[in-house]
């Protein structure tokens, strides 16, 4: 893609509804890898109808790539719907589990008080570590991790975001 194409890299959140067939996730992720699309995160789970999965994909690319992603994914036989979850009209949430090394009571107090402000929960304690569970959009999690920059993070698990549109206008009935 050379020439006049819009080269500005954008991040976009896509929501997919797909038949919950064996291999549907590999069909989708295979499409991303063979066409060289950048995927930042992908989360999947069943909807209220167990035959259908809701998949949230965060992808980056220029406008042309993002359009291709939407069209190529829509082409997959198992995919019922794909559309963008626009930030202004949607709720995004990500779950993070953060295991931080704590060397003193002071450390613990600092982390626990910050966790409080972020409405995070302490879910595990050991003599030299704390595990924090935090839910929020990506910027909230990034902000919390920033506060811990002086601490040693032993392990970090982030789920990638899941999202839904606000209200009933954008609900896809299938």
């Amino acid at each position: 893609m050379t020439g006049e194409g819009n080269q500005v890299m954008n991040k976009r959140v896509f929501q997919l509804l797909a038949d919950n067939t064996s291999g549907v996730l590999s069909r989708i992720s295979g499409l991303f890898s063979r066409r060289g699309y950048n995927i930042e995160s992908i989360t999947a789970g069943t909807t209220a109808d167990p035959k259908i999965s809701r998949i949230t994909i965060v992808a980056t690319g220029d406008e042309k790539i993002l359009q291709q992603i939407e069209k190529q994914v829509a082409k997959l036989v198992d995919v019922r719907d794909i559309h963008e979850l626009k930030p202004s009209e949607s709720v995004y949430r990500e779950l993070a589990l953060i295991k931080v090394q704590t060397n003193s009571v002071l450390d613990r107090q600092y982390i626990m008080s910050n966790a409080d402000i972020f409405r995070a929960k302490i879910v595990d304690v050991s003599p030299d570590s704390l595990m924090v569970e935090l839910t929020g959009d990506q910027s909230k999690i990034d902000a919390f991790l920033n506060l811990l920059s002086d601490y040693r993070i032993l392990e970090l698990a982030r789920t990638g975001i899941a999202g839904l549109c606000r209200g009933t206008d954008g609900v896809v009935w299938i």
Partner: protein
């Protein structure tokens, strides 16, 4: 009734008349059941060619080609054939046997994860878990393969599923695929926009791709351009949409196309691409094409539109429907000046080629061959210099031109010609290959002999992998590497070994008589033409 019986009944329901394949234990129940049916089975000599032969059937009948092979290496050998069909959007249903369901994933003898392996070359694939699903899956597979943007669908059937008892049989009348609904009708608002652009345009041009053949839109396109005097060029896959000698046809575009066709593209102010990908081989710098012209892109696959070139007017739908809708519109526009200009380009920009005496000249030979061929003959070009010569010099009258355009798979022509001939016994079918591509598929002479397939094979022989040699000649200044075909067999002797005649043509002196004799033969026949290795495309 067992699963394998159901598979065969499904093929009967889909009016499949022949299956190409190669058996093995894992597909044996199917091949046992098919003995009860009138469906013809054709044993090819390597699995890849089963897919190519099925492609030859699909492209000459407008139906779906079917092949069936065994698990493991049988299935993996099929992959190149499937990828070739996928690249050219050819509808196939490929059936593979699979090891026992309970053993899946344990790397037993002849187990290969074929649905995983072909994922990027199929429109869809199925691994059948329950024999009761066979009717639905086959119905869906034929539907998916033959609608929207066509393509291959693979059905992998474990041997225990083929052997499983089925209590009841019923074949669904329709498919209920809520996730798969291709757009066929073009949007009227977009069509009206095209009409407006045609009225404004001074130099409109239609570039027809393989999609025009796939939607069977050749006639609707032809009558449309004849009514409004709009010139047409084609991609390689679009050859044959217009008869080569049609006054409104200006040849094939692309880096191996006619210079006047490329000039027509660059001079046009309104370019209507239909059923073409606007890929690198057809259009130089596709992303810049909209700089100086209005681009209308018609394709049944919305993902093709805007992939390589941003269109001014995207138009999703089936080419046949769209040209019928366009023809019903009131179109004003006069393009006589533009046609006169194109005519002058055609006269002025004829490529000059060197001729080598004492050898067969491919240009003159192919022209002569086309003149002698029947009007509705099927010409199958292989891949290499022979393909480029065939594109440039074969004169399509009312027949078809088949080749592997997207994938460029060497060895395609002979098995595809076998399929085409079996499906169209009344038509003349000629495969034209090089000595490299011939050797990739020469085992299929046995298939032709065994099943009495009087297809005709021409080998343009220069003792080199000519296309690569030519590339090395220009790019690496005659540093030739691994392109020498020394050690090749005497093709006339090969033909004799299969009890076939072979005409060897050393120069142009008796070419016409030789061609007549070749075309008049009732049996399968070969013809070898000695080409000078420095004869370049």
């Amino acid at each position: 009734m067992i699963g394998a019986d159901a598979m065969v009944k499904c093929l009967e329901e889909e009016h499949v008349s022949m299956v190409f394949g190669y058996p093995g234990v894992a597909i044996c129940p199917f091949y046992n059941s098919i003995l009860q049916s009138d469906i013809r089975t054709i044993l090819v000599r390597t699995e890849q060619n089963a897919a190519h032969a099925a492609s030859g059937v699909a492209r000459t009948t407008g139906g779906v080609g079917v092949c069936a092979v065994t698990s493991g290496p049988g299935a993996t050998n099929l992959i190149t054939g499937i990828a070739t069909a996928f690249a050219d959007s050819i509808p196939l249903v490929c059936i593979t046997g699979q090891v026992n369901s309970e053993l899946l994933g344990s790397d037993v003898f002849q187990e290969a994860d074929i649905t995983g392996a072909v994922e990027s070359f199929v429109k869809y694939s199925y691994l059948v878990r329950d024999a009761a699903d066979i009717p639905r899956i086959f119905k869906e597979a034929f539907h998916i393969a033959s609608t929207g943007r066509k393509g291959p669908v693979l059905i992998d059937v474990p041997i225990d599923v083929q052997n499983a008892r089925m209590d009841k049989w019923s074949y669904p009348d329709s498919v209920s695929l809520r996730t798969y609904k291709p757009t066929v009708k073009g949007n009227m608002v977009q069509i009206k926009k095209v009409v407006k652009e045609l009225a404004k345009a001074k130099r409109p041009l239609i570039c027809a791709g393989g999609g025009v053949h796939l939607s069977n839109a050749q006639e609707s396109l032809r009558s449309f351009v004849e009514a409004y005097h709009i010139p047409v060029v084609s991609t390689m896959m679009g050859i044959g949409v217009m008869p080569t000698k049609h006054p409104l046809y200006y040849g094939m575009v692309g880096n191996n196309g006619q210079p006047y066709a490329n000039r027509a593209i660059s001079d046009s102010d309104l370019l209507i691409m239909v059923g073409a990908r606007v890929a690198d081989r057809a259009v130089n710098q596709p992303d810049l094409i909209t700089k100086d012209k209005v681009l209308v892109h018609i394709d049944v696959d919305p993902a093709e539109i805007g992939k390589n070139a941003g269109p001014t007017i995207p138009l999703v739908g089936d080419a046949k429907h769209i040209f019928e809708d366009l023809a019903a519109q009131d179109i004003t526009g006069a393009y006589e000046e533009w046609l006169a200009l194109l005519e002058s380009y055609r006269e002025r920009m004829q490529p000059r080629r060197e001729e080598y005496a004492d050898h067969v000249d491919p240009a003159r030979f192919i022209r002569m061959l086309s003149e002698e061929m029947e009007d509705d003959a099927v010409y199958v070009a292989d891949v290499g210099q022979n393909q480029i010569w065939s594109c440039a010099y074969h004169v399509v009258k009312k027949g078809q031109f088949l080749t592997s355009g997207g994938m460029g798979t060497m060895g395609y022509s002979i098995p595809a010609a076998v399929g085409a001939k079996l499906a169209n016994p009344q038509k003349q079918v000629v495969a034209v290959c090089g000595d490299g591509s011939f050797q990739m598929s020469m085992m299929e002479l046995a298939t032709m002999r065994q099943h009495d397939v009087p297809a005709k094979i021409i080998v343009l022989k220069n003792n080199y992998l000519g296309m690569v040699r030519q590339y090395q000649h220009f790019t690496y200044h005659d540093h030739y590497s691994v392109v020498d075909l020394s050690g090749s067999p005497d093709i006339a002797k090969i033909a004799a070994a299969y009890d076939m005649d072979c005409i060897v043509l050393e120069n142009m002196e008796h070419a016409k008589e030789a061609i007549r004799k070749f075309l008049d033969a009732k049996e399968p026949i070969l013809m070898v033409c000695e080409i000078h290795p420095m004869n370049l495309v």
